[in-house]
């Protein structure tokens, strides 16, 4: 391996990137765009869910009960309807997510005593929002129920009203339960996976397709020099993008960064090695740019998005898919990044994931060097 040949190769690749405006755009704008799109676009906190109410009684008490829904930050009572079919239509057309139906004898049943049923019709198409809506409306009903019971007990002069158990919740690592604090560190991983693989996946395939590979083969450059020369610029760019995204996450989105930078940068470098080698490997194998891009999408973006725990928790997947997630490095890096950001974990806690990442980096880099042969 000769240093000057390596340098020349890297220089050629760098010039090729800089002279193509769209490559520059990928490098600079894509991370920014992805951070903003994911950071703002993915929010699983259901707030101000649209609610329709059908008050069949229309009494002081039923209105009082419905006001509790209005007062909750999780609901927004959009409309009050007069009949059931109207409510059904609203649910069908997703004008509302929740419909509350108060029975005709609401206040009479309360004064007579015993349980009173209030219907909660939920558009459960989106199961997650529906689940949150159920929990929130359950909480509203419970607290109102509690009040009328206290009132009832007071009037009777009977047993002392109590609340036997209260739940004191402590939320660790993300005190305000912001889904942004969970999503934004994850975006860093997805951005790196995309940038790293997409940029490199085409680099060799392009030379084949344009016929410039023959020119490259006729030079004295060795396969190892080709690989290192082609990957070095992308490594530098990738690392710069990582730092950029992280700073954006900290300063713009206000996500806490509690860990230390060296651990973070080390793991980022390892992960970059993984994605760059993967991209290069795909590029050598695929030969055509179309195939390379499709395979790259399947092999890196999809696992980074789906199988890393980015949005969908791994523990909730079927067992065999959980096993599958172990063969995708994004999973380990995702855990490291989240832990470094939110938990400020030490190297000790992360040693398993760091080791796994290092192993993947070594194996994939080796595979990539072996893949490319200088022959036609």
């Amino acid at each position: 391996m000769k240093w000057h040949r390596l340098q020349a190769m890297a220089r050629k690749e760098m010039l090729q990137i800089i002279r193509d405006p769209r490559s520059v755009a990928i490098v600079v704008i894509m991370p920014l765009l992805m951070m903003l799109a994911y950071g703002y676009g993915i929010s699983l906190d259901a707030k101000r869910l649209p609610v329709y109410v059908l008050d069949r009684e229309g009494s002081q008490q039923s209105q009082d009960f419905l006001k509790r829904f209005q007062a909750s930050q999780y609901f927004q009572v959009v409309r009050s309807v007069d009949n059931y079919p109207e409510l059904v239509r609203a649910l069908d057309a997703q004008s509302c997510q929740l419909g509350i139906v108060i029975p005709r004898d609401f206040s009479r049943s309360i004064s007579r005593g015993g349980p009173v049923g209030v219907q909660a019709l939920i558009d459960a198409t989106d199961a997650n929002s529906a689940n949150l809506a159920v929990n929130y409306s359950e909480a509203v009903a419970q607290s109102y129920s509690r009040e009328i019971q206290l009132e009832w007990l007071r009037r009777r002069g009977g047993g002392r009203p109590t609340q036997p158990v209260s739940v004191d919740a402590r939320t660790w690592f993300n005190e305000n339960l912001e889904s942004m604090d969970n999503i934004v560190p994850g975006v860093v991983v997805v951005v790196m996976a995309v940038i790293g693989t997409f940029l490199t996946a085409l680099t060799i395939a392009r030379e084949w397709e344009r016929g410039t590979m023959e020119q490259l083969i006729s030079t004295p450059v060795t396969p190892l020099e080709v690989m290192l020369g082609k990957l070095a610029p992308y490594f530098v760019i990738g690392l710069a993008d990582t730092v950029f995204c992280t700073l954006l996450g900290i300063w713009w989105f206000g996500v806490p960064f509690r860990g230390n930078w060296p651990v973070f940068l080390l793991s980022a470098a390892l992960f970059l090695l993984v994605v760059l080698s993967t991209g290069y490997f795909i590029s050598v194998i695929a030969k055509s740019q179309l195939a390379a891009s499709q395979v790259a999408l399947l092999a890196t973006f999809l696992p980074a998005f789906l199988l890393s725990g980015f949005i969908f928790p791994i523990e909730q997947m079927p067992a065999f898919i959980q096993v599958v997630t172990h063969i995708f490095p994004a999973r380990y890096f995702m855990k490291i990044v989240r832990n470094v950001f939110l938990k400020g974990s030490s190297v000790g806690v992360l040693s398993y994931d760091l080791a796994a990442l290092a192993l993947f980096a070594a194996v994939l880099a080796l595979l990539a060097t072996r893949a490319f042969k200088k022959q036609l």
């Binding site: 676009g41 309360i110 004064s111 159920v134 929990n135 939320t171 997409f198 179309l290």
Partner: protein
Amino acid sequence: MFGRLRHMLIKELIQVFRDKRTRFLIIGPPIIQMIIFGYAANLDIHHIPTAILDYDNTRVSRDLTARFGASSYFDVKKRLARGKEVTEAMDRGEVDLVLRINSGFARDVGKGSTAHLQVIVDSSNSNTALVGLGYVNQVTASFARDYELARLRRSMPFSVGRMPSIVLERRPWYNPDLSSRWFFVPGVIGNLMMVIVVNLTAFAVVREREIGTLEQIMVTPIRRAEFIMGKTVPFFLIGILDATLVTVFGTLWFKVPLTGSILVLALGTALFLLCMLGVGLFISTVSGTQQQAMATSFFFIMPAIIFSGFASPIGSMPVVLQWLTYLNPSRYYQVVLRNVFLKGTGLDVLWPEMAAMAALGALLLAVSVLRFQKSLD
């Protein structure tokens, strides 16, 4: 004209299906993605890894923890003895939730003063934490109700049955088991259609340009309209084929009900495909190389998926972004997919979405055909 168009179509279809790799690309990735998405895209929370630290250790406290053990939402993995172990287990991520019961719990419950159940939850995943806390509240509330009723029954045995209470009768419509798979599988169809059709269309033209065969075609007597038709109709057909494939697969394999009319679904799919052909063609007019085409299509696809309401509700996004989603054809297709699959609604409800896709599709196709003519000169 018909003869030339036919030849062009035959050439394109041969080009697509002759290459083994491209043939695989049409069938393979959609199925693989359907499987992965179907299994992995899941926001249901069950079996939250839980630890219990019970300082009270009485019949009452054990009754409470047993209720957590019996619930499928919690998976009691560890019993802790000391407070220090809480930090350890949480830092290592062994458990996501710790229930801590202080001594005196049973005494407080018995004498009717408020006993405290402390819940420590790893909220680095806010959604899991939020849903988990909801379940904790439900289990605790039912425990509290039982004990309070028992206590009141002792002090006022005759009238306690007449104590009023409000019972929320839940009616989760369209998806009675609250399965998030039912939500995601139809949505995935939209994403797959978008990725396949936009990429194929964008690449088809750009590749001819890059390898120089575009000029060869231009010297033949073929007209522009015929050329454009030849470059889009095959991908429309492939899109329909893939849509059928993943729809059948999704309904049979993942057992997601298709309650609505197939015709409505087909109409929505056709309109959506028109939009995607327009986008693909547009990308091909602004891209000189395949790498540029790929980058540009990714610039479109990635936000289009996020701002379609596929993964998280549009209503939770910032208001300005909510407006922008109206320009996104995928937004409408997601509504059509989920409505037809789960709600079984027809055109009486879905006509605005259909109209929006038709308008966007016409606009996109018109703009890209105009640009296309310029870019050929």
